[in-house]
């Protein structure tokens, strides 16, 4: 049994009507926010708490949150913005949806605190286009919070003005990239921007903007309520706190599990009901399909933490964990992923636009057993040609799965190469 299961963002998993204000208040909700509004603490102290808690961005890149917040210039002229990235599009990832559905108030409270800390005026919660129920829940929660005077102009009678809006996206993967999301909010195509300048300097409408993941922001009220030490103590030395994993694939009980970082993969697999009878774990994608894959045997001796995943050459990413057992057709699995990426490439920059289609065509051929000699080397070379040459990290998202699959499963992929000699001999 794992201690501290579902204690931070997913703590209302089994609480009835947890998305409503009365239930949230009953569980101590908005206490931190009310205290902040009342006592107006020094934002620097709050950033210090977040830094000490070890909280890192839960969207994929794992950038230390406190550090990111400290980049924002409170005194920059003009409006400043917070964007909550709820465009959860990474294949295999479905944990933010649970926060948005079961715990929208904690997210709102997190956004309010973040806005206070960084001196931001408006927060946008950008939900992915397919999130109908989460959007509904967020909208009703926001209306409740607004009616209670927690959001909007002169919050709780103070001089604080923080506006929050929920925005439903139009359905694309790339809008989850922070600068693409900024473009989309400005009413343009979701094209990632070239960085620098970074959003903290030149973001939404050219103004300083901070973009945080849903889980990151929703963790903030609990950290401030329970203390930095409590949170960091939940995890390991280098990976503070808890992380939600959405486990899917060949497991008996797929679902979302919020576990302390540093929990062993084996325990997480057990939580998800384990593998089917008589099966072995062939390969695991630990953090969404954009991360490098890890062979099952290596995973089984690993712990779920930033450093643990780094040790096996991958990353915790978004926490979208996909387990594949020994029945998996590796070429088919790769082809499915590459089909997704070629479909979702925004088409803005050359390597990704042209490379994603090429990679997809090659992997599809391998999956059908129609590969040609040299295809795997070519595939590897193309992936390397894309990597590091694109505007956004999408290039790596195509490249990493390809190169890691080839690295670990080259023999399985070679099965897909049709032997031209033999087919000629037949005729």
């Amino acid at each position: 049994m794992i201690e501290h299961l579902n204690t931070v963002c997913y703590r209302f998993k089994s609480v009835e009507n947890s998305w409503t204000l009365p239930v949230y208040l009953e569980h101590g909700g908005y206490a931190v926010w009310k205290e902040i509004v009342k006592t107006a603490p020094d934002p620097k102290d709050l950033i210090e708490v977040i830094k000490r808690s070890g909280l890192r961005g839960r969207g994929g890149a794992g950038f230390p949150t406190g550090l990111k917040w400290s980049f924002m210039d409170r005194n920059a002229p003009g409006p400043k913005y917070l964007i909550c990235n709820s465009d959860e599009g990474e294949p295999g990832t479905f944990k933010d949806r649970q926060i948005l559905t079961t715990n929208p108030h904690q997210l709102i409270e997190g956004m309010l605190i973040a806005s206070y800390v960084m001196g931001l005026d408006v927060g946008y919660n950008f939900l992915r286009g397919e999130f109908a129920l989460p959007f509904q829940r967020c909208e009703s929660a926001l209306a409740e919070a607004r009616a209670a005077g927690l959001v909007g102009a002169s919050i709780l009678g103070s001089k604080l003005n923080i506006e929050i809006h929920n925005i439903l996206g139009a359905g694309s993967y790339i809008v989850g990239e922070e600068t693409a999301m900024i473009e989309a909010l400005e009413g343009k195509r979701a094209y990632p921007r070239y960085k620098p300048p970074f959003p903290a300097v030149h973001g939404l409408y050219g103004q300083p903007t901070t973009v945080n993941n849903t889980e990151t922001l929703a963790s903030v009220p609990m950290i401030l309520a329970q203390g930095a030490d409590w949170f960091s103590g939940l995890g390991t030395e280098k990976s503070g706190g808890t992380k939600m994993f959405s486990v899917s694939g060949h497991v008996n009980n797929p679902g979302v599990f919020e576990i302390p970082l540093g929990t062993s993969f084996e325990s997480l697999l057990a939580l998800a009901g384990g593998l089917q009878e008589g099966r072995s774990c062939l390969v695991v994608i630990p953090g969404g399909t954009s991360m490098r894959v890890v062979p099952g045997a290596e995973m089984l001796t690993s712990e779920m933490s930033y450093e643990g995943m780094e040790a096996v050459g991958s990353a915790i990413g978004s926490g979208g964990l996909i387990v594949m057992d020994d029945r998996t057709d590796i070429a088919q699995a790769l082809a499915v992923m590459m089909e997704f990426y070629q479909h979702e490439s925004c088409g803005q920059c050359t390597p990704c636009r042209e490379g994603s289609g090429w990679v997809s065509a090659l992997t599809a051929r391998l999956a059908q057993g129609l590969g040609k000699p040299g295809d795997i080397d070519r595939l590897y070379a193309i992936a390397k040609q894309i990597e590091g040459r694109t505007i956004c990290a999408f290039g790596e998202a195509i490249s990493w799965p390809v190169t890691s699959f080839i690295q670990h499963f080259r023999p399985q992929l070679e099965v897909g190469i049709a032997s031209n000699e033999s087919s000629e001999n037949c005729t």
């Binding site: 694309s172 790339i174 195509r189 070239y194 620098p196 070629q342 479909h343 979702e344 490439s345 925004c346 088409g347 803005q348 920059c349 050359t350 390597p351 636009r353 042209e354 490379g355 994603s356 289609g357 090429w358 065509a361 090659l362 040609k372 070519r378 040609q385 590091g388 040459r389 694109t390 505007i391």
Partner: protein
């Protein structure tokens, strides 16, 4: 503030400014970095990735176009790492691009082709199906072959950032992304042809010249655009190989000139070269017994000399008038008037559309701009009075747009709303008949806001006028800055029958705002022709003539029904205000000469001698633009058949008449020098000083129904009318009379029936379009429709009724 920064590119130490990108600095230092999406006049997209370079200490190659320089930066553009990245990008660009340069119109001048030679690998590895993209019909000017597109989005950014009309966009995404209009209605920007230039590949090419020749067989000539008073610089490409098209203009491209057209060109200037191949007159002809007969040049010149001498002997030289198109060169204008004035003819004019020229002596050197084009951008308020530069002077409008984008308030007041491609701060209409009254009221509003000793004396004359809130707003805006605003007056104002009064009040307005009036004129060389003596009241050098030597203006000379008319490159049925008066005069006169590059069926009726002359780029000559810049170019090609440059024709006619064997000028360059010298000496003797127009008291009269004569920008002159692709681009829209709903309701007009316009004794029937941009009590009349030839002064009172 930008600070000096020291960087190293390819081991070369360079000092540059912070804020510059690596590619800018490299370009200045002559180090070439390959690129497709980067364009110095467009925003940075960094999407092609071709300019990836190695920057020391950066983990990944960085795009040179989007990476700002920083102190101590060390850049390698051709290191192993940089070249590897560039070659990888090239291989991606080529996988879906057709590798069939020999059948592509861009072949030989294609960025992708050139860079593929340098960075492409010799063997392709792509064995999948290539992408194919459906072509879109973008209209008669731009041809598409979208399979060749490399998605650099230069055309998209051009539309958004320069044309101010985002007509092209990226549809779909990933490998399926393509460029299109979505609505499928084609391109309609007046600058649309520039997408051809910015496109680095053969996806967008020029439709009129497509597949007609290869760039390496063209000879390039520096020339000038002939349609507006900007005088954009162009390159004229002439086929030099011995093909069927030998010695014809194959296409026209912009020639970079930062002070005029930057690197752009309007569609009219780009595509009007086609006219050189169409409707041309190639042989001198005389009319004998109602039949046209081709004759040698000497016979034609004999006929003209004899007939004009006869008229001078029997009726006097005052029975002769000369009308010259405002697009004629300084040399043509000078020799035209020199020949006629040597005959004693005083009635010489280059202004075809002005109804009231009694202000003549008050516009010194002629109508022109008070500042240069780049200076337009520095104004913080620009007032457009009856000026619609977007279609008529597109490159001038480009400057106004840039001013507006950097925060200038553009204020427009005219007989129709401004169809602007930028945010416009004040956009109001007024009935065209009330211009003088409105101009005076604006002066009154300013006088109420600003104490001014000089103009306070006008108060009595302004007594009956009432300042409306609209005018009050305008006056307040004009006064709310310390810097003087720019006041631009359009050519339509000079066509107004009350022009003198309007100008007088406009001068007061300018005086009150401590600024000078700027005028735009029709034609490419109105300014130059004023200086060449092609106005009835000024000799070459714009020297005022003594009263007894002042002749009649164009309209007056037609009204006077003289005995002979010499018409140069003007079609009186289409180009003249008062075409009815013109045609009546030409039909009753004894002898008319039509000198033109272009055939005209109307001229076949009224002319007695037709002389074919060179057109546009076929002429060497000088044009003076609205900023007063003299620009001389050499002809790019010979005129077809026996057509001669017009300056030679008039030089010959003068010699013929005076039976001299020596031409006064046999070198075209000497003519412009003579004129320029005359201008300088007149200036030295203060002969350009102008008298001050004194405005008269205004009678307030309720607005009445007036027409406003409208020359569509793609029908405006003989050259553009003969250019087929531009005529297709003009479409059917040009044929409509237009008025707003109020006017239509008042006169029971609708779009399903026709509108009968009566002007004086003439009448004409037009299709009607209800257009809310037109002012009340105003009907816009398309002067370039053949039926409108029967109408007189269309800017003036008219009557309308619905008819079947």
């Amino acid at each position: 503030m930008s600070a000096a920064v020291n960087i190293k590119i390819d081991n070369q130490s360079i000092q540059c400014q912070s804020g510059q990108s690596i590619i800018e600095v490299a370009d200045q230092a002559g180090i070439y970095i390959p690129r497709f999406c980067y364009h110095p006049k467009l925003s940075i997209a960094a999407n092609c990735r071709m300019c990836l370079v190695e920057v020391q200490q950066a983990p990944k190659p960085l795009p040179a176009c989007a990476t700002p320089v920083s102190e101590g930066m060390v850049v390698y553009t051709r290191s192993r790492k940089a070249l590897q990245a560039q070659q990888d990008i090239m291989s991606f660009l080529l996988i879906n691009h057709p590798l069939d340069c020999p059948i592509c119109d861009q072949g030989g001048e294609c960025d992708l082709q050139d860079l593929a030679m340098a960075y492409g690998r010799s063997r392709g590895e792509f064995e999948e199906h290539k992408r194919a993209v459906e072509d879109e019909h973008l209209g008669p000017l731009v041809s598409t072959e979208m399979t060749r597109c490399i998605h650099c989005t230069r055309c998209v950014r051009f539309g958004e950032e320069i044309a101010g009309m985002p007509e092209l966009g990226v549809m779909s995404r990933g490998g399926r992304a393509y460029i299109g209009t979505y609505l499928g209605k084609g391109l309609h920007s007046e600058l649309s042809g520039n997408v051809i230039d910015v496109c680095p590949v053969g996806a967008l090419t020029a439709k009129p010249s497509r597949f007609k020749g290869r760039s390496w067989t063209f000879k390039q000539h520096a020339q000038l655009a002939r349609h507006d008073c900007v005088g954009s610089h162009v390159y004229c490409h002439v086929q030099s190989h011995y093909t069927d098209a030998a010695h014809t203009v194959m296409r026209v491209l912009p020639r970079a000139q930062e002070d005029l057209n930057e690197v752009w060109l309007s569609d009219r200037d780009r595509f009007s070269y086609e006219a050189l191949q169409h409707q041309r007159l190639t042989q001198p002809q005389i009319k004998e017994g109602g039949q046209w007969k081709v004759v040698p040049w000497n016979v034609a010149l004999d006929v003209i000399t004899d007939r004009l001498s006869g008229i001078i002997q029997t009726a006097g030289a005052d029975q002769i008038a000369g009308c010259i198109a405002p697009s004629a060169t300084v040399e043509e204008g000078f020799l035209f008037q020199d020949w006629l004035r040597s005959l004693g003819v005083r009635n010489i004019d280059c202004r075809m559309r002005e109804a009231d020229v009694s202000h003549d002596l008050n516009v010194g050197l002629g109508p022109r701009l008070a500042c240069t084009l780049p200076e337009i951008e520095t104004h913080d308020r620009i007032l457009l009075l009856e000026a619609f530069p977007r279609r008529h002077q597109p490159m001038l409008n480009h400057r106004i747009r840039k001013a507006a984008q950097s925060g200038a308030a553009v204020l427009s007041w005219g007989s129709r709303l401004q169809d602007a491609n930028y945010t416009i701060a004040f956009n109001e209409t007024l009935p065209i008949s009330t211009w003088a009254e409105h101009m005076a009221t604006l002066v009154k509003a300013l006088l109420q806001l600003k104490d001014d000793q000089v103009y306070q004396t006008l108060s009595a004359a302004l007594e009956p006028l009432e300042v409306t809130p609209t005018i009050q707003t305008l006056a307040t805006t004009l006064l709310d800055h310390q810097t003087p605003p720019m006041i631009l007056i359009g050519e339509t104002m000079l066509q107004h029958p009350d022009a003198t009064q309007i100008i007088a009040w406009a001068e007061c307005l300018a005086g009150l705002l401590s600024t000078q009036l700027s005028w735009v004129t029709s034609g490419a060389n109105t300014a130059g022709l004023w200086l060449s003596g092609c106005v009835p009241h000024r000799a070459p050098g714009a020297v005022p003539l003594p009263k007894e030597d002042i002749g009649l203006g164009t309209l007056e000379s037609f009204k006077a029904q003289l005995k002979a008319y010499i018409i140069h490159d003007v079609m009186p049925d289409l180009d003249v205000m008062g075409s009815r008066q013109a045609l009546e005069a030409l039909n009753q006169s004894a002898f008319n000469v039509y000198v033109s590059p272009f055939e005209s069926s109307a001229a076949r009726d009224w002319a007695d001698v037709i002389l074919p002359c060179a057109a546009g780029y076929e002429t060497s000559g000088t044009l003076v633009n609205a900023t007063g810049t003299w620009q001389t170019v050499a002809s790019a090609l010979a005129a077809p058949g026996e057509a001669k440059p017009a300056w030679k024709i008039y030089a010959a006619l003068a010699a013929w008449h005076h039976t001299e064997t020596q031409l006064k000028f046999d070198e075209v360059t000497a003519v412009a020098q003579a004129v320029e010298h005359a201008v300088q000496s007149a200036k030295a003797q203060n002969k350009h000083d102008q008298a001050v127009l004194v405005p008269e008291a205004i009678q307030v009269t309720p607005p009445t129904l007036w027409g406003v004569a409208y020359w569509h920008d793609l029908r405006e002159d003989t050259l553009v009318r003969a250019a087929p692709a531009l005529q297709l681009q003009a479409g059917e829209d040009v044929a409509y009379a237009r008025c707003n709903t109020l006017t239509a309701t008042t006169f029971a007009l609708n779009e399903t029936t026709y509108v009968q316009v009566k002007q004086g004794e003439g009448q004409a029937r037009f299709k009607l379009k209800i257009d809310e941009s037109i002012a009340n009590h105003t009907v816009q009349i398309p002067m370039t429709e053949p039926v409108s030839a029967s109408l007189g002064l269309c800017t003036g009172p008219i009557e309308v009724e619905a008819c079947a």
